[in-house]
Amino acid sequence: MNPTRQPNPWDRLTAAARQLPDTRDTSAPYGFATRVAALAMTAPRPSLGIMMERFSFRALGVAVVLMLVSVAANYTALASAFTEETELRDPIAEVLDLGS
């Protein structure tokens, strides 16, 4: 707790609540460990297909992020490329223009 902070209602309340000792037993109830272990050992392990699916989704996410970052980083170059494309120089037209 921050020592400079003035005790407020929440501090007073939690200080009182902390006085209540937790006397509950923390050992596993009878049969719990056996049941859980049996369930865990009989449960199907994640198959290769599921693992691949999980990794594929992760890879897809990374690819999308990389794509967005690269587009953002090269935005000006990309934008200017499109405008240049519309104003492509046509050498034949230029020659014809010179001839006329």
């Binding site: 009182a16 596993a28 719990f32 859980v36 272990a37 865990a40």
Partner: protein, 195 residues
């Protein structure tokens, strides 16, 4: 802890990975006190602690292949327990409003005492204070609630909370700040309203 040194965790994990059911049972028994403390501290309403503990252990076994040893195994398990509790807390509907009328006589007396008493001395009814704290915590977002509970009730340090939850220090501080601010607002609101 002497129990931890006596228990061969590494050997036990190797046996569990070879589908040794006896080793799995020993592992559950060894980790049960750790898991049940987290589960009890962050137990949503109408959820049995044993069911939640079982869910934590089943997740632990199903993800065992993913454990790389980057953090101690009990820390890894405690993070599974914390996220499982948060998922359950998110799933439960929060009460729309905290009202005087919802409190028992003792809880209302305790709340009255902490709202009006300016001295450092807290209320005497610790059980009612404990119940009231949990009712107030129910008003917070699950992750904020968890941070405040670990900080103010269990008196863990930021570093310890980071170990248990896997969250960084800044995130923990932000969550604690947000939770305290919400509680402060709630107390002000309660002060304005008549009992």
């Amino acid at each position: 802890m002497s129990d931890e040194t006596a228990f061969d965790l590494v050997g036990c994990l190797q046996r569990v990975r070879r589908s040794d059911q006896l080793a799995a049972r020993e592992l559950v028994e060894h980790l049960y006190p750790l898991v049940i403390r987290i589960v009890r501290a962050h137990l949503p309403r109408r959820v049995a602690e044993e069911d939640l503990a079982q869910e934590v252990f089943m997740k632990m076994f199903s993800r065992l292949e993913q454990y790389q040893g980057a953090v101690p195994f009990p820390h890894w398990v405690s993070r599974i327990a914390v996220t499982t509790c948060i998922d359950h807390l998110r799933a439960q509907k929060r009460r729309p409003e905290f009202r005087w009328a919802d409190l028992s006589e003792n809880e209302a007396d305790v709340l009255d005492a902490v709202l009006t008493n300016e001295s450092d001395r807290g209320p005497d009814d610790t059980l009612a204070a404990h119940e009231l704290v949990h009712k107030l915590l129910d008003q917070l977002k699950p992750a904020d609630r968890l941070v405040l509970q670990l900080l103010d009730l269990e008196q863990k340090t930021i570093a310890e909370i980071s170990t248990i939850t896997g969250w960084n220090n800044s995130l923990i501080k932000v969550r604690a700040f947000r939770a305290r601010r919400k509680l402060q607002k709630l107390f002000l609101e309660l002060q304005r309203k008549e009992r």
